[in-house]
């Protein structure tokens, strides 16, 4: 599969970066901010699921930890927002490492792995809904403090650029992984773990590292969510909705590719918005669309939009290459 180069990545990021300069519409900016946030979550999932081949159904565990740590440290311990954000990422990575260590040491793969990640996310959700430190059923409100030091901004543009920067970093991370020995080992483990081991790959370590990186990226999205929406509760942080969005974006966009999650997040969110405009907004509608997309993509385009685009590009190249014959004919 043709891989995205650094040049492609820069192009895409640059194109997106000028959007706030072209429009002041809050609707558009809000849409893109959320879509980019989902792209970040999806990129996190992609490292473990796309490149590592381990499908997690509980990525909410990392998103929610990032969100809660960021919120709790600020509101209850007066920690600076940016520091709290960084610690949120660390917290998510820790949770990822813990779950990964347990799951992989037990040799869990495939459906069993998906199940255990689902279970962990649910446990976290239930715990978060009852313990006082997370605000139990009520949740946590981050006090409004519109200063850059508090990681809050009057207008949406700064938020947009921050999430775009985070997404850009995640794109670069994945690209670096692709070109590294770690990446080669990760793909080998995905394709055939036993064969990989026979060639000197420490599969458990590789999977654990992938999970930790994956969790950290997803936690960053969670921390960002907390700062953007200023409210976190157990259903938002650890709910199934984010676990589903986490895997939907990369699968629709192109699993195991650098730009897949970004493409997928934009596609999925766009479809969701179109549906709401056409049929009217109501709880559950967007997830019906998402669920259907999941089934349809798996059934008809399992490699996602990215591969459809690559196929298109290949056909175009072949068509162009046959041009001399055509003009002579």
């Amino acid at each position: 599969m043709r891989q995205a180069s650094i040049a492609h990545i820069l192009l895409v990021v640059a194109a997106l970066a000028i959007v706030p300069l072209l429009t002041a519409s809050n609707v558009v900016l809000n849409f893109l901010i959320v879509a980019l946030m989902i792209a970040l979550v999806g990129q996190g999932w992609n490292v473990l699921g796309g490149y590592g081949g381990q499908y997690s159904f509980g990525h909410a565990a990392f998103f929610g930890t990032g969100a809660y740590v960021t919120a709790i440290l600020q509101t209850r311990y007066g920690v600076n927002a940016w520091a709290a954000f960084a610690l949120g990422i660390a917290g998510g990575a820790l949770v990822g490492g813990a779950i990964g260590a347990l799951a992989f040491r037990s040799g869990l793969r495939g459906s069993y792995f998906a199940l255990v990640t689902l279970a962990f996310a649910e446990v976290l959700r239930i715990v978060a809904s009852v313990v006082p430190i997370t605000g139990a059923g009520v949740g946590i409100l981050i006090t409004l403090d519109l200063r850059a030091q508090a990681f809050q901004f009057q207008s949406r543009a700064p938020f947009f650029w921050i999430i775009l920067a985070l997404v850009a970093v995640s794109l670069v991370i994945v690209r670096l992984i692709e070109q590294s020995r770690f990446g080669a080992w990760l793909l080998a483990v995905r394709e055939n773990e036993d064969a990989a081991k026979a060639l000197g790959v420490d599969a458990a370590r590789v999977k654990l590292a992938a999970m930790t990186i994956s969790a950290a990226i997803t936690a960053a999205a969670g921390g960002f969510y907390a700062q953007y929406f200023l409210f976190v509760d157990s259903g938002i942080a650890y709910g199934p909705w984010i676990s589903i969005e986490a895997l939907l974006a990369p699968i629709v966009g192109g699993i195991g590719t650098v730009l897949g999650p970004l493409i997928g997040a934009l596609a999925v969110r766009t479809l969701g918005e179109i549906t709401k405009l056409a049929i009217g907004d109501a709880p559950g509608l967007d997830l019906v669309v998402y669920g259907s997309m999941l089934v349809l993509v798996v059934a008809f385009a399992p490699q996602g939009i990215a591969s459809l685009l690559a196929e298109l590009r290949a056909r175009l190249t072949r068509w162009r290459a046959s041009a001399p014959e055509r003009t002579n004919a």
Binding site: S180, A188, E191, A195, A196, K197, A198, L199, G200, D202
Partner: protein, 252 residues
């Protein structure tokens, strides 16, 4: 006597009620090709799995240059230079031939560029040089066998465990594969091969061990082992040795 490269000492493996390997012992000196033969179900692949760390023995130990490697995991053994191929070939289906072999090369090379370089070199030594960019899943059965071999070779092994790498190849494919294996041994790689293709065993192996029902029943140079009555009985059934002797000796 110098410590052999590989020593298998009284290894047994029990699966529930089944004794797959029964008190097997043998040693392999550095350099040269050793063949492990025996009827189907004799426990040869089980033994390979034990040596290469995929299975733990119920009893017994394995030594590499005198060091006890009995329960070492496969990846550590690979880093010590002991690499195996699989009887049912296991390509990294979603990757290209080049990327497949590079995974092996990465064992000794950190940089992607170097690993890909080495992979390309190894690919040409086994005849896959033209197929580097093909998806591994598109290779023929013979191609996949070569890929198994190339991947293992790319790690730069000291001891190569080949599990039926010649199985299923037709005569022309055999005539190219056999010299490839011989060339490997000439370059210093110690090879232990499980094989059913007798002509290859006879022409390649310096020594042969025969495994029957989990036990080593014969050992020695190929010609002598093949003439051993117990070996004949194992393959052709009870009383076969006597019948053949009566009919004027086995034809080899």
């Amino acid at each position: 006597m110098p410590e052999p490269l590989l020593r298998v000492e009284r290894v047994s493996k029990r699966f529930g009620g089944l004794l797959a390997v029964d008190d097997a012992s043998f040693a392999v000196a550095a350099g040269g090709i050793t063949a492990l033969i025996g009827p189907n179900g004799a426990g040869k692949t089980t033994l390979f799995s034990i040596i290469s760390g995929f299975l733990a023995p119920s009893r017994g130990r394995i030594f590499h240059r005198g060091a006890d490697i009995t329960r070492m995991p496969p990846y550590l053994l690979a880093r010590r230079g002991i690499v195996r191929t699989f009887q049912t070939v296991q390509p990294f289906a979603g990757l290209s031939v080049h990327e497949n072999i590079a995974v092996g090369a990465h064992l000794s090379r950190r940089s992607r560029a170097e690993a890909l370089d080495r992979a390309a070199q190894v690919a040409s030594t086994v005849g896959l040089g033209d197929l580097l960019d093909r998806p591994a899943a598109s290779l023929t059965a013979a191609g996949r066998k070569r890929l198994e071999l190339a991947r293992a070779l790319a790690t730069g092994p000291e001891l190569l465990l080949l599990d039926e790498v010649l199985a299923g190849l037709n005569p022309p494919e055999l005539t190219t594969m056999v010299p490839t294996i011989r060339a490997l041994a000439e370059r210093g790689v110690t090879i232990v091969m499980i094989e059913h293709v007798m002509q290859a065993v006879m022409s390649l192996a310096g020594q042969v061990f025969v495994l029957v029902e989990g036990r080593v029943v014969a050992a020695g140079a190929p010609a002598s082992v093949v003439g051993d009555p117990r070996v004949i009985e194992a393959y052709l059934g009870h009383g076969a040795a006597a019948r053949l002797a009566a009919a004027g000796g086995p034809n080899v």
